[in-house]
Subunit: 115 residues, 2 copies
Amino acid sequence: MHLVPADRADRRTIDGHRVCDAIAAIGDPDDVRTWSDRFALLADPNRLSLLLALHRTGPLAVSDLAIASGMNDPAVSQALRLLRAAGVVAGDKEGRVVRYRVVDEAVRGLLKQVS
Amino acid sequence: MHLVPADRADRRTIDGHRVCDAIAAIGDPDDVRTWSDRFALLADPNRLSLLLALHRTGPLAVSDLAIASGMNDPAVSQALRLLRAAGVVAGDKEGRVVRYRVVDEAVRGLLKQVS
DNA sequence: TGCATAGCTGCGCACCTGCGCAGGTATGGA
DNA sequence: TCCATACCTGCGCAGGTGCGCAGCTATGCA
C-alpha cells in the first residue's frame, strides 16, 4: 500500500506503515469537506438553538423561533436561509406564516447526540 | 408554563404554546454553547482529518499526521494544541515523539457518525 | 382600500480563524 | 560536544462570519 502522494513521499515517517492506514482512515477529502461543512452549521450557538428547537418540538414559525431563541427576526431569517441553502431545513408557507422543520437525516442524527 | 423571559414577553407569538416547548427544547444556553464549541472543533476539514485519522487508526505521531493529512507540521501542531486545550485529544511523549489520541467521549460519538 | 404584520434582503462593521513563515526548545545519535 | 530531528510557539495577513440596522415584499384583516 503506497497511499502517500508523490509530493510528500520523501518526508520521513515515524511509524511508516501507520501513515497509509491514516490516509485510508481520512478517506475522500470531499467527504471530509461535506462533514466539516455539516459540523460548521451546528457550530454556532444561535443556529444550534434553532435546530434543537425544530428537532425537538417540530415545525415552528420564524417569529416563534425568534422569541424562543432570543434572537431578532432578521438574524433568525438569515440563519434559516443558510440552513435551507444547505438542505438542512425546509419551510412550509401557510399564508403569512412559514413553519420550518429539519429535513436532513445526517443532521438529525447529530442532533440526537446532543444530550 | 411561562418560560418566556420578561424582556420578550410582549412580542406576539404565532403558536403561543409551542414557544414554551421550544424554549424547553433549547435548554440551558451553557449546554448549547458547549455543544456548539464541540461542533466548531470538527468544522474544519484539516482538524476533522486529523481526528478521523486518530479515531480510526489509533495513536499517531505529529509528523505522520502531517504527511497523512497533507498539512505541514506547524499547522498540525497548532490544530492539536487547540484540540488538546479543549480536552479532545491527549499526547503521550515518548522520547522526541509525541503520539496523540482522542480522549473525549462525546467527540468520539460524533466521529462514529461520520460514515 | 388602507394598514398592521410575517418574513426576507442588502449593506456594513466588528470580530474571529486558519495557516504560512521564521525561529525556538528538547531529545537522541555520531 | 555537535548536529539532526520532532515538535512547539509568536506573529501577521488574508479571508470568512455573525448580526444589527434599515428597508422591502407579501399576506390578511377591518
